[in-house]
Symmetry: C2
Subunit: 139 residues, 2 copies
């Protein structure tokens, strides 16, 4: 806990409590600045707060994602990774080399509107992942 970021007020504003477990989890996600799997989060956050357990990690990640503090991205074979919610974006993954490109949400807006009018669904920030071959792997 050397950094001074305090998520407590934001959490409380959403009816969530700040606990040392959540602090450790958020701290890890903040400093790794990328996507982490629940297991990765568990292993790292455990160093900061050894009493942390797996169920807590899984539940916390789900809860924080539901309240939009985290984004859950579905990567590869049904794997899920989390990252701190910044601006909304999606992922484009090369299934040969695993390379990842971030895709802005803007180009998806039109599609969202179309789907909403044709299905009656109201689409929200759900994460979308595209798969393909990156330019290097197309040879």
């Amino acid at each position: 806990m050397t950094c001074s970021i305090n998520y407590a007020p934001q959490l409380r504003a959403q009816g969530l409590r700040m606990t040392p477990q959540r602090n450790a989890i958020l701290h890890v996600l903040h400093h790794s600045g990328g996507h982490l799997s629940p297991t990765q989060v568990y292993k790292q956050a455990r160093k900061e707060y050894p009493r942390l357990t797996e169920p807590t990690v899984y539940r916390t990640l789900e809860d924080l994602a539901e309240k939009k503090f985290l984004l859950a991205a579905h990567v590869g074979n049904g794997k899920i990774v989390y990252e701190l919610a910044a601006k909304q974006h999606h992922h484009l993954i090369c299934h040969k080399c695993g390379g990842t490109v971030q895709v802005e949400h803007a180009p998806l807006e039109l599609l969202y509107r179309q789907l909403e009018s044709s299905t009656g669904y109201k689409l929200d920030s759900g994460h979308v992942t595209f798969f393909g071959l990156c330019s290097d792997c197309q040879s």
Copy 2:
């Protein structure tokens, strides 16, 4: 094995062998006509071929999906379900009631082209799932 569908030649054309295990798995997917989780496939296919084991199911589903005999859809919290590959489509899922709507691929084509030109990736049949609230759950 009362039905007479024979996938063997198609499998062999892809360098895959036909085994009783794969037969049972394909058979189950064929007759359930929907999305099944690996566990569901395992439990049902086991009735047809009791020697079947979990690792075989997971590997087979992955292999068959890679060769496009199956489609893998990423549903909900990183869960994965499989279905026989028919025409390409995507899913729109209500995260309140779980209701699912199929989305044709056509409306996504334009987006695919845009993303390809802006990222250099060549997109393929990767499965995409959207999340939102269905009309009933919007109240």
